[in-house]
Each structure stands twice: as C-alpha cells, then as structure tokens.
C-alpha cells in the first residue's frame, strides 16, 4: 500500500512501543485474509444473544424515540458531528503512527476548522467544503504495521470485532488526546456524546440493523460476515480486487 512510503517517519517517533512493534513487523501491512477465523464461536454466540437482548429491550426503543421517521433530525446530526469531531485528534495520532502525513494533516485541518467555524464541532463545514473524514483507528495502525486480524470476537455492547481491533480499541482509549487533555467532568461529555452518537446511528440505520438482527435466519453469522468483509474493505481492499468469488470458475 502507498502508505508505506511514509513509514520511515513513523520510525522516528519516540514511543518505544512504536519502535518495538515496527521492529517486530516487517513494516508491511498484513495481508487481508479472505477466510473466517472464529474458534470461540460458542462463547461469541452467547455474547451475541446478550447484545441482541439489550438491543431489543433498550437500544432500539431509545433510538426510535430520537430518530422518529425518515431523515436524521438536526439534534442527532449535531450530536453525531460533535462526537465525530472529538475523534479527530485520535485520527491525527493514528495517521502519524501509520506514517500517513497527508491524512494526519487533513484530520488536523478538519479539527481546527470544525472546532471554530463549526461551533465546537456541532456543524461539519469541512465536509461541505470537500475536506472529507479520513477515518482511522489503532486497529488500522496495527494492520499497517503488519499485525494480522486474529480471531473474530463479539464484544458485549460494542459488538463485532477481531482480536487485533480489540487491542486497537483499548490503545485508542488510552492514547486519545481528548481523554488525556480533559479531566472529569469535561471528559464525560466526550464519552456521553460518543454514546449518544451510537444511539443516533442505531436510529438512522434502523432498517439495516433490523434486517440483520431480526430478519435473518442466523443473525450471528450475518453480523460476523458483514463486519469482517466491511472491515477488510476499510483496511485497503481496492477497486479491481480479484479476491471475490467467481461462481463461473467452478
């Protein structure tokens, strides 16, 4: 991947963790796997049943109240923007760790612009001007460093993930500049906004989520498939990728 061009920059960072991990890996992104690695399926299915019960009794009804019908309202849009803006510093850090200077610069620009002109991030004028989100996380950073995705995991409340992405979430939580710089109670605002934004997403994509959780014959298997395929796509599957199946070849 192109990103590798910038890796020498990441090597210069002072974090010993970075140096160690880069030394461990060959500095090449891990190959994107095609198969399904789920050795803990029985335990994952129990978590899935729990998550589904929480959705049925709590998340779905709450999100329904806020979402109403059709398009997202101004309030839920604002909450989503606000929460997303607070993710920008973390994206800057991860883009830097991946040696991707252009994306780090773009996320920095978005944060500066949306935090001021965008009224503390409630609005998103950056996107309107064509400066799009460059989403990334520490799971992707690990991928860029050559760490494979590991086994599939369904986490309580957080949902589908992989072993690598679980580590990524934990590290993101620790190295997130927002939580480092803000003390309680201000830092709780960020957490609350993040949660509210998730509930808003549940409302916005209710048809899709419902079709997976309640209309499919095996919602665990469908959610697993969707998560893995979409995550692998985010991590750099390209146009013209020939890893897809060819039913005529059989």
């Amino acid at each position: 991947m192109q990103r590798n061009v910038y890796l020498p920059v990441a090597r210069r960072t002072t974090l010993p963790l970075v140096a160690g991990l880069i030394a461990l890996s060959a500095c090449a992104p891990a190959p994107v796997p095609q198969d399904l690695n789920d050795p803990n399926e029985a335990a994952n299915r129990e978590v899935h049943a729990f998550n589904k019960a929480i959705d049925t009794s709590l998340v779905k009804p709450i999100s329904g109240v806020f979402a109403g019908d059709g398009e997202p309202g101004l309030v839920s849009r604002g909450v989503a923007n606000f929460a997303d803006n607070l993710s920008e510093p973390s994206r800057v850090v991860n883009s830097l760790l991946q040696g991707n200077i252009p994306d780090a610069a773009q996320s920095t620009l978005r944060f500066a612009f949306n935090s001021t002109v965008g009224l503390a991030g409630i609005l998103d004028p950056s996107t309107a001007l064509g400066v799009e989100v460059k989403d990334t996380d520490f799971g992707e950073t690990l991928h860029v460093w050559g760490v494979g995705e590991g086994a599939y995991v369904e986490l309580p409340l957080a949902g589908p993930s992989t072993e690598r992405d679980v580590v990524g979430m934990a590290v993101d939580y620790v190295i997130n500049p927002v939580s480092i710089l803000l003390d309680p109670p201000e830092s709780y605002v960020a957490t609350a906004a993040g949660l509210a934004s998730k509930v808003g997403d549940r409302g916005r994509y209710s048809d899709t989520v419902d079709s997976i959780l309640y209309d499919s014959a095996d919602s665990y298997a469908q959610a697993r498939l969707l998560y893995l395929q979409n995550r692998r796509y985010e991590l750099g599957q390209t146009v013209g990728d020939d890893n897809f199946e060819d039913p005529y070849a059989e």
Partner: protein, 203 residues
C-alpha cells in the same frame, strides 16, 4: 449527479463472440467493447429500478417489477446455485429449477422491501474494468441523509449474455451474505430442500 438507475441492460452479447483463434488478434478492442457493455448493463438496470421506485405503484406491484428487473439483468440460476452452496450438488435438476424460481421471488421481495431507502437517491457509475474472467463496474450511491458509499457490480457474459452475478456494498458481497442466509434457513429445516423451497415462496 445524473439520475442513473440501478441495474444493467444490453442482453444481446452474441454467442459468436466465443469463437476461435481468429479472435486473438481482436482481443483488445473486443475487451474494451465489453467493458462498455458491462457499464451500460448496470446503467440500464439502475434506471429501471429508479423508474419503478418513482412510478407510485403499490408495494406489491413494485415487487413484480423488481422481480422482472432482477431476472432480466442478473444471472439468477448462477446466483441461486451459489446461495444454496454445497447443498446444490446433491439437489436434483427439478429441485434446482424449483429452488431457482422460488429464490428469485424471495430475493426480489427481500431487497424490494427496502426500496424506500432509495427514494430521492442516485447511483452514479464511475468505472468499469475487466477482473479475472468477469467485469467490475464501480459506482457510487448517494442516498438521502447518508455519506456516499461504494457499490460494485460483477458482470459476466459466461451465460451467453451480459448479466450481473454479484453486488458488493462497501466490501460486503451479496453472494456470501445470501449463502450464509440460505444455509441457515436450510439448517433450520434439517437440510430439507423441498421444505426450504416451499417456505421461500412465503418469506
């Protein structure tokens, strides 16, 4: 944004194309022509879906339209066989025919029920290129209230005409999702294909 529709057309891609060594010299232009046709197929299919959505018909009348579009622009027998997975190998010819028929209606209703999400949206075809033995048509979907997303169509002429056999939304491919779903439905019926066929007509 052009007001492009969802599926593809250009049914007539001559069987003559298959022919012998003489074609080697022509391979390049023929390939380019086919890329254009794959793209045209997707364009046409998309426009028909949009026309149906905008027609103001009742939901059940729309399902009839969607099924017609699906059977016209996609390789239903190949998609159905893929969805049935390994069970297709042990199915009789009559069972495969009945399954394919029931599956076509089932898929049209299942995705057709989501038509509201497409109201006011557009799909813009951006690229088409050969991949392995088939063609990949890239498009971007702009749906109301959502960030634009990547939608790819895999088109093949192996059936004798250009038809799409897979749709990939942000990396999530329909064949794999369908195989998971049909496999689970079959398991719930103890592997009984006849029971599955009967139930698919009603789901």
């Amino acid at each position: 944004m052009p007001n492009d529709p969802l599926f593809l057309t250009r049914r007539s891609f001559g069987a003559g194309l298959a022919a012998g060594a003489g074609y080697l010299a022509l391979a390049l232009p023929v390939r380019a022509l086919t890329v254009d046709q794959a793209r045209a197929l997707v364009d046409k299919a998309i426009s028909e879906v949009n026309a149906t959505i905008g027609s103001g018909k009742s939901e059940s009348a729309m399902f009839v339209d969607f099924e017609r579009i699906f059977s016209r622009y996609s390789d239903v027998p190949v998609i159905a066989r893929s969805a049935l997975g390994v069970a297709a190998r042990s199915a009789s010819k009559a069972q495969m025919a009945a399954f394919t028929d029931a599956y076509q209606g089932y898929v049209s209703r299942k995705y057709g029920r989501r038509f509201r999400e497409f109201i006011g949206g557009t799909i813009e075809v951006t690229d088409a290129r050969p991949v392995k033995s088939y063609f990949e048509v890239s498009s971007v979907a702009y749906l109301k209230g959502e960030a634009p997303f990547d939608l790819r169509w895999h088109v093949s002429d192996k059936s004798g005409k250009q038809l799409f056999f897979n749709i990939i939304i942000e990396g999530v491919n329909m064949l794999a999702s369908e195989r998971t779903e049909i496999g689970a439905l079959l398991d719930k019926r103890g592997g009984n294909i006849d029971a599955l066929i009967e139930d698919l007509k009603r789901i």
